[in-house]
């Protein structure tokens, strides 16, 4: 079964690129585009047709990435999350990825549902939801920087860290 870790790593990378790619799309493209689109009355094109599709792939690729990552850790799962026995570096990456997954499902998606009108919300609730979703998304973008560093170097390229 030598092939299995390679396939799971492949799935982890494919879904991780989908997740973080969409995260960067939201932060680098859509947020600014929505501001401009709201000014000229064309925001509905994004909120109705683009954002729901992007959010679907975003939240489910996050789940696939985490599950595949947990599978890759295998017997090292506990050591990684307890930051011990050579799994300290990848463990930091795993913790950051887990916090990001939490933000997606607990902060970003429930608030985006209010913003996009998928669940009932008055204007005050929508304004508050926009702020929470924006800050959670920006937090995830910030966390993705060290997360990717530790995913890349935490387990297999520890020499980069002088370990």
């Amino acid at each position: 079964m030598e092939l299995m870790p390679g396939i799971v790593r492949w799935i982890h990378l494919l879904s991780g690129i989908t997740w973080v790619g969409l995260l960067y799309y939201f932060n680098l493209v859509q947020m600014a585009a929505l501001k401009d689109a709201a000014a000229d009355g064309t925001a509905a094109g994004i909120t109705k047709h683009v954002a729901p599709r992007a959010l679907f792939w975003f939240r489910w690729s996050a789940v696939v990435t985490w599950v595949a990552g947990a599978g890759l850790l295998g017997a090292g799962f506990t050591d990684a999350f307890l930051l011990r026995n050579g799994y300290e570096g990848i463990g930091i990456g795993a913790w950051l990825g887990t916090i990001m997954l939490f933000n997606v499902w607990v902060l970003i998606w429930p608030n985006q549902k209010k913003i996009l009108g998928l669940v009932p919300a008055d204007d005050a609730a929508k304004t508050s939801a926009r702020r929470v979703a924006m800050l959670a998304s920006r937090t995830n973008m910030m966390l993705s920087i060290p997360m990717l560093f530790f995913m890349a170097n935490g387990l297999t390229h520890r020499a980069v860290l002088g370990l």
Binding site: L28, R138, M142, L143, I145, P146, F149, L161, G162
Partner: protein
């Protein structure tokens, strides 16, 4: 002081600083002496 997460540049700089801080944490507190 403005929240750095309000801007893309502030977010990226915060991420880089956090990366550096976590590397120091790893080397000095988690695997110290290695």
């Amino acid at each position: 002081m403005k929240n750095p997460l309000e801007s893309v540049a502030g977010t990226i700089i915060s991420g880089l600083i956090l990366t550096f801080a976590l590397v120091l944490f790893l080397k000095n507190f988690l695997v110290a002496g290695v």
